[in-house]
């Protein structure tokens, strides 16, 4: 029966080429717009570190003075160097790392290669294991190197290609800011999307090129990037241990919800102690958010992308209403044909199913064309200057979803016209012939 309905649908398409083409194009445009925006949204709002995002927590404390204090407001978005170093020393999590972004200059030893600047991350030993950083060669450094302010560096694959021409460069020397560093590791391709560990710099950008021990970066007074917020007088050195400035991201790994709760208590305790000691002035106000909560809080998906998603859905809706109208016209125009079929014994259900098959067939055609349009749309997105642009690719799930959406949408659009069509009374149609 299904094959027969398909056959009927094909005949009907041939009879009403313009109308059918119009419907297919309408559905395709709607699907294309919707799937393009949905794919971009899907890529940008994904879990950057699946499997571990509920075990990694971002720490916020409230170390500011009373000036500008509003009860109930969010604590500072980053922590002070003093607090970060204190929490790191006490090691109450499974793993923990403090970090900040930085800018450095690299002087390659190779002939004909001029010095250039790169983005860096100054962090501590646990960073690599905590964030599951894939390493192509070598590894991270240990807490001992942190304490020794060692001149060691982990570099990105791209920098390894650029300076050493690829290969295993572990043990080689790299000149950074006029100081020699020993390469201990090379990071493999890694692009957490968004780059969740630091919300201050480009959120969808590529990985930093160089990772150095935080302690070393301070020894050498290396330039820092990202946001810094100060209150009071930092006495000439806003990156000093005692500077009243927040500029460091602090992450902790906690294996279970119980451990997270215990760690929160620990933070409350720590904050209370700091107030007793006179360092903190405000009432205790701590936050411990896991990766997805932290991304949500930061509204990581750009507003424009969310707006485009809504626009895509609105567009699809208009296209569907349009299709409902056209299907209605199409089915009712065939009133006489339906009358004959009904008179020859087709049940209402059969007419209904036949109409839905026809609508579904339009959906399949619209889906294929729509897929083409979303590929075109994503190509257009990739031409944009935004740093997330290059990530806009259709994956298998989205590809399947495109067809499901197209067919479901067109069948939904066909429901009303099919219902109207099945109510055609055979007698009147036959009489008027």
């Amino acid at each position: 029966m299904f094959a027969y309905y398909c056959n009927l649908a094909l005949r009907s398409f041939r009879r009403d080429k313009a109308l059918t083409a119009l419907m297919v194009v309408a559905i395709a445009l709607g699907i294309g717009a919707c799937m393009t925006t949905l794919t971009v949204f899907h890529v940008l709002s994904g879990d950057p570190i699946p499997g571990k995002s509920d075990r990694l927590f971002y720490v916020q404390l409230d170390p500011e003075d009373m000036q500008g204090y509003t009860p109930g407001e969010e604590p500072a978005e980053q922590v002070t160097r003093y607090d970060a170093e204190a929490l790191l020393r006490e090691k109450r999590g499974t793993r923990q790392a403090m970090m900040t972004g930085g800018g450095i200059s690299v002087t390659p030893g190779r002939e004909g290669l001029a010095p250039f600047v790169s983005d860096a991350r100054y962090t501590t030993a646990d960073f690599f294991q905590m964030f599951d950083v894939p390493l192509l060669h070598g590894g991270g450094w240990s807490a001992r190197e942190d304490e020794a302010h060692a001149r060691v560096a982990v570099i990105s694959r791209a920098l390894n290609e650029r300076v050493f021409g690829g290969g295993n460069s572990v043990g080689k020397q790299l000149r950074i800011d006029q100081t020699d560093f020993t390469v201990v590791g090379v990071v493999d391709e890694w692009r957490p999307t968004p780059r969740f560990y630091d919300m201050n710099s480009d959120r969808y950008g590529e990985l930093e090129d160089v990772f150095l021990p935080f302690s070393t970066s301070r020894d050498l007074q290396m330039g820092r990037n990202g946001s810094m917020s100060c209150w009071g007088d930092s006495d000439g050195d806003s990156t000093g241990v005692n500077a009243p400035c927040v500029w460091i991201q602090y992450w902790v790994e906690l294996d279970s919800p119980e451990k997270a709760a215990a760690y929160r208590d620990y933070l409350v305790n720590y904050s209370d102690q700091q107030r007793t000691a006179g360092r903190y002035k405000r009432p205790t106000n701590v936050r411990l958010r896991n990766v997805m909560e932290w991304l949500d809080f930061n509204r990581v998906v750009p507003n424009d992308v969310v707006m485009q998603l809504w626009l895509g859905f609105g567009f699809l809706l208009v296209c569907l209403v349009n299709t409902v109208g056209l299907l209605l016209a199409k089915f009712l125009r065939r009133g006489s044909e339906i009358g004959v079929r009904r008179a020859l014994g087709a049940s209402r259900g059969a007419i209904f199913t036949q109409c839905l098959v026809e609508a579904g067939a339009i959906g399949v055609a619209g889906g294929i064309l729509g897929l083409g349009l979303s590929l075109l749309g994503l190509w257009a997105v990739r031409q944009q200057p935004a740093s997330y642009a290059e990530l806009a690719h259709l994956d298998l799930g989205m590809l399947l979803l495109t067809f499901v959406v197209a067919i479901v949408a067109s069948v939904l659009a066909g429901l009303l016209p099919a219902w109207r069509a099945m109510q055609v009374t055979p007698a009147i149609q036959l009489k008027s012939q």
């Binding site: 200059s105 424009d304 567009f315 109208g325």
Partner: protein, 410 residues
Amino acid sequence: MDIRPILSTLMRHKTAASLIVAEIALTCAIICNALFMISDRLDQIREVSGLAENELVRVQITSIGSDADQSARTRTDLASLRALPGVKDATILNQVPFVNSSWNSGVRLNREQQQSTLSATTYMAEDQFIETLGLKLVAGRDFTPDEFVEFENFDLPGVSPLIPSAIITRSMAEKLFPGEDAVGKTFYSWSEQPTRVIGVVEHLVRPSQMGGPTAREYSMVFPLRPHYNLGGNYVIRTDPERRAEVLEAAKATLQANGADRIILEENTKTFEQLRHEYYQAPRAMAWLLGIVCVALLLITALGIIGLASFWVQQRTKQIGVRRALGATRGQILRYFQTENFLLASIGIALGMLLAFAINQLLMGKYEMARLPLLYLPAGAVLLWGLGQLAVFAPARRAASIPPAVATRSV
């Protein structure tokens, strides 16, 4: 034209009629909001910066490691840049507009105040700041040479910061001292000592979008001479046609003053380029919204054409009878156009309610402004026009139905 027969016919085709109404309503709602967003983006792109943009170029430079002579080297750099042929003025800035990186600070009106009145961005100025950027002083005066302090000396440990004078923008002056002359007034920002406003410039945008549209020009200028490792922004003013040449000469000059420095080529460009890149996202969004609007109108028009054609076909006999009874072609044409006008009107009315509902939602969630009423009549006229245009072809086909078909059996 008698509307009643049209209405009674429409009542018999409720489904088809309500589909047209629904489509027009949805399109109207989306388009009103989309047009509003487009105009908002265009406002951003057209923003006045206050700078002599087409005469300015920026060279960004950084040292390899730290530079003990950074302040002295900056003096030498500036002297050699100013000596270049074609250079009108040159200065160095801690931050430049159209680059999303900025220094911001709370501003209070008195020392005891707990909450800042506003957050402003801080430009650190060197002697030729006003001339180089081409800012327009509308009140007060420029800094005098003895007011400038090297930022490096200011930032030393044990030195308590003191900034006696500042130049602020008109927009910031109006916010701090509404209705008053800001020159001579004081505020508190970086230090516990008051800073006196000595001049007001007409426009000067802040580098970042911090604080939203109202805070775009909350900018203050402090007479603190930055050194080149504080952002590294050398800004040079020249004739528009000499920009490329000056840019090349400036790079060579800076490189000649010390090879232990890196010129950041990708950030070294004219201000027009900087501005163009800075507004790329809103420009792309405006284009996208525009394309969607056109596509929506097209889809809606095609939908109306499809349904109207179907109607005409269905009513061929009825039209023939009316023609046989003496109705003119014009009357048949007007019948369909009036019918469409009625449907469009209902759709537009619903669409406007929906437009406001969507706007409310966006206002709550995405900090969008309230939809100005002006967009509603604009959207209405657009959709009325579209409806009339779309229905014209089917209506003309209806009008051309000869009276004879009424008497002929089908």
